[in-house]
Symmetry: C2
Subunit: 304 residues, 2 copies
């Protein structure tokens, strides 16, 4: 990875996140297919899919998902697919994903789709690895209060209501729009919302004075409806980032997040290796017997 | 927390986890209400609900959920509700949840329901804080491959198909049953599956020779259907754990998980405080310029 690292930084890293049932795997497959379609004189970009499944901490169930995928995209040597399941260690999956993305970036994949299942903290950490983050919703999911999702929406650059052929699509879109304004409470943002929505990335926009407002798009991944528009929004976001200086800022944030994840693991590993055999067990026994609190246990362990 | 810790260890910690849209908040409310119903001569247990929402890393959207909750359980002084949203730090939420649970345990709440949104790594970490973990599903969610959830099912002690009045309940139950056997690949487990399912916790069972097989229950949280049966299964699981020695084992695992979470944070904080101002920024600049890799950056930072 040290040798490869200078060759990274060329790929567009696109995170795709959303709850189970939003159909985001199909959406990612469609995106990959669309990117790979030959058009005009351009060579289509090589596309990598990194499918991260933190819900499978023990059995590594991602393998099955891979097979389904393969069927859709098989035979195209310009598409590489890699599934990753967590090994149960906190932060370990995000660090491993970062490493895989670096290898693919150095290997010349221009588009890297990082797909994450669910919308928990680990997904947010993985989303921080991307330049452009797509949050996928679908109608009919969740009687949980929509506004609760404001947090995940704050990391969204593009919002997608997939399965837009199902009833309730207007409700989902309205809820997203509501949460979006909750998640961006700055008054000037609210004010500019309507006007700015179609501007970013267009030639007449002044990107350094403007803020990107996440567009809300409808797709039907199963038949490909809305996929060209989604790819267009992704491309616009990339152009916006590059024009506004946001690309460099994201790169910096990305690398910083990666560094901190790695730092955390390194510190824990280094502490573990310094620990004398038996000390940990002794302190754990005292803790289990409730002679000392977890905080006191940490104090004792750190002092060794 | 050090002073309170010796008074902990009395509460039954019940984790309730499941994806958005499974109606697990309503389920938790119903469980609390059922526990609080006076029956025979017994005083009903005091119940605490700790609702953890790792999907809201920035805005702390949990407050809204709280209000809805209050309406259901308001006026009962034997019920305490606390919502927690992540502050964005990896592992921080699980550590904070553990601390809150300790305070409630020491304060004499006999039943503590720990509710987590979603099913990612952070939810698994929080589930590790519980004695009994309930995984909630609902019909009609997810065209993602069901088997992928085998990982989360491995932490389940009780499985609930909520919204069991909706069509597709049989499919969901079948998928769960399939995933459950995938998640427990030991041949003797498979062999005993049918026979053992109803045995654990019953007087004639020999718990130390037996393994708990997670029952699959149907509920309709909105009207309370299946709630008494669910409480019964939770109670049986507690009895099973106590008879089989599993309770002590869980306590140990719980406390160990808590210790490691805390250790991780302490190590990171301590490293940060040792770091000279400017060093971190310098190394980050080198990383952003791709002069060094993230691994080399960590090496440099550790050496300071």
């Amino acid at each position: 990875l040290n040798t490869l690292f200078p060759f990274t930084g060329k790929a567009h890293l696109i995170g795709v996140t959303g709850a189970s049932g939003t159909g985001k795997s199909s959406l990612v497959n469609q995106l990959a297919r669309h990117y790979r379609q030959p058009r005009q004189a351009e060579t289509p970009p090589r596309v990598a899919i990194v499918a991260v499944d933190p819900t499978s901490p023990f059995t590594g169930g991602a393998i099955l998902g891979d097979r389904i995928r393969m069927r859709d995209l098989a035979g195209d040597p310009g598409v590489f697919i890699r599934s990753m399941a967590t090994r149960g260690s906190l932060g370990g999956l995000a660090a491993a994903t970062a490493a895989v993305v670096q290898v693919l970036d150095a290997a010349g994949f221009e588009v890297i789709l990082i797909e994450t299942v669910g919308a928990g903290q680990s997904e947010v950490d993985i989303a921080r690895l991307a330049h452009t983050t797509i949050v996928v919703e679908a109608p009919g999911l969740g009687d949980d209060i929509q506004a609760i999702k404001a947090g995940i929406l704050e990391i969204a650059d593009v919002l997608v209501v997939n399965k837009a052929d199902l009833p309730g699509v207007e409700n989902t879109e309205r809820a997203l729009r509501g949460s979006l304004s909750l998640g961006h409470p700055l008054p000037q943002r609210m004010l500019h919302h309507g006007r700015m929505e179609t501007l970013p990335g267009q030639p007449d926009a002044k990107p350094d004075q403007q803020e990107w407002v996440p567009p809300i798009l409808r797709t039907v991944a199963l038949d490909g409806t809305g996929i060209p528009e989604l790819v267009d929004a992704i491309t616009k976001h990339q152009a916006y980032l590059k024009q506004s200086g946001g690309w460099k800022q994201r790169e910096r944030e990305r690398l910083q997040a990666e560094l901190e994840l790695l730092m955390q693991r390194t510190l824990l590993d280094s502490w573990r290796s310094r620990l004398t055999a038996g000390v940990y067990e002794m302190v754990l026994e005292q803790l289990v017997a409730r002679q000392i609190s977890p905080y006191q246990a940490v104090e004792r362990l750190v002092s060794f």
